[in-house]
């Protein structure tokens, strides 16, 4: 359940950036290979925001599908897991271009 410490970090980042105002919504970008389960973050969010400037804020999670490029043949393709092989040449040397994001993108404050 490292989503708990991840969510605590999200709250910390938001409080530092909210200019002391109450936060209405938080937008996150979570890559589908970030190792973070959006449902768990949502579950932790309510508990972690209690008594903070984020209490009652809406959590908006933008899920980013992974894209990779094959280092052998250069083909770009959507990746679903770290063990996907290149659909063109079958190679496993795949470099991820997107999909590991773990980012607070935006806040909406009062």
């Amino acid at each position: 359940m490292h989503e708990l410490s991840i969510t605590q970090s999200i709250v910390e980042i938001c409080e530092q950036n909210s200019q002391g105002r109450r936060v209405l919504s938080v937008t996150l970008e979570l890559g589908q290979l970030s190792g973070i389960v959006p449902d768990s973050v949502e579950f932790c969010f309510e508990a972690c925001t209690k008594g903070t400037l984020l209490e009652g804020a809406r959590l908006i999670i933008s899920s980013i599908p992974p894209m990779g490029v094959c280092r052998d043949c250069g083909v770009e393709f959507p990746v679903t897991a770290y063990y996907d092989s290149c659909p063109s040449c079958g190679g496993f040397t795949v470099e991820l271009l997107h999909g590991e994001e773990l980012r607070v993108k935006e806040l909406e404050v009062e």
Binding site: M1, H2, S5, I6, Q8, S9, I10, E12, I13, C14, Q16, N17, S18, Q19, R21, L24, S25, L28, L33, S34, G35, I36, A81, Y82, Y83, S85, F92, T93, L102, R103, V104, K105, E106, L107, E108, V109, E110
Partner: protein, 256 residues
């Protein structure tokens, strides 16, 4: 206040600014019909792990400055990490000056076992926490005489999931997989095997009693991480350990 990371004993969440930029776009924004709420958007674009990553970078700089080679050992509970450490420390004694940071949710049982090898050890209890983070390791590391240290081994909390996301400032992650666990672990827990540079396949002395397919396991690990270095070892009998020590010795010499 702590001079390393700026934390105070009461307040561990404190930092301001992780190199991110911040700019405001003031615009009005309706929240559905009739709410009338006016929001101001603040663009943040900050990595959620920025604080941990910054502290890990500090740790890495500290270790490099003192010439300490650092490994972060990760695995599921019961893979034999502590036995492997005990054996490694006893066999490397005289070749390298070592220290250990032990991470567990509770108890100092592992630290007691490591201390019996004569190597300095610090136990971190994470309580409910499922992983070590760079902040905990940074504080524990300062308790060692880093100038006279060649090798720091960090035994992470037994967990094949969460420790994959937290950089501690190590040179390499070493994942330990025992042959009693099933050969498809690299596919079931791909994040960890993707993040590690080395895999120690432990308890190979038990292979005659199991259906574990070593070749299949190696293939699955390489699918997740084509560059992973694999050693087949038994910390109990010592089989294969010389190859692991050879790699370790080379890396300590080159410190990386």
């Amino acid at each position: 206040m702590c001079t390393t990371c700026g934390c105070s004993p009461e307040e561990h969440h404190h930092d301001h600014g992780d190199g991110h930029h911040q700019h405001d776009h003031e615009h009005k924004h309706e929240h559905g019909p009739g709410t009338g709420a006016e929001g101001k958007k603040i663009s943040i674009e900050t990595d959620i792990l920025a604080r941990n990553n910054r502290l890990a970078a500090n740790n890495r700089a500290l270790f490099t400055a003192h010439g300490v080679f650092v490994l972060n050992l990760v695995s599921s509970p019961g893979s034999g990490k502590t036995t492997l450490l005990e054996k490694t420390l006893r066999d490397m004694a005289g070749k390298a000056s070592s220290a250990v940071i032990e991470g567990d949710q509770q108890t100092d049982n592992d630290a007691v076992r490591i201390a019996a090898t004569g190597v300095p050890v610090r136990q971190i209890n994470t309580g409910a926490g499922c992983h070590l983070d760079a902040h905990m390791v940074g504080h524990a590391a300062l308790e060692f005489d880093l100038d006279n240290l060649d090798l720091l081994l960090i035994e992470n909390v037994g967990n094949l999931v969460c420790p994959a996301s937290f950089d501690l400032g190590e040179n390499h992650k070493v994942v330990v997989l025992s042959v009693t666990e099933g050969e498809d672990k690299p596919l079931k827990y791909p994040h960890m095997f993707h993040a590690a540079n080395v895999m120690l396949l432990n308890k190979i002395d038990l292979l005659p009693h199991l259906d574990f397919d070593v070749a299949k396991c190696r293939e699955m690990a390489r699918r997740v991480n084509p560059g992973i270095i694999i050693f087949e070892v038994s910390a109990k009998t010592g089989a294969g350990m010389d190859d692991w020590y050879g790699w370790l010795g080379e890396r300590i010499k080159g410190r990386g």
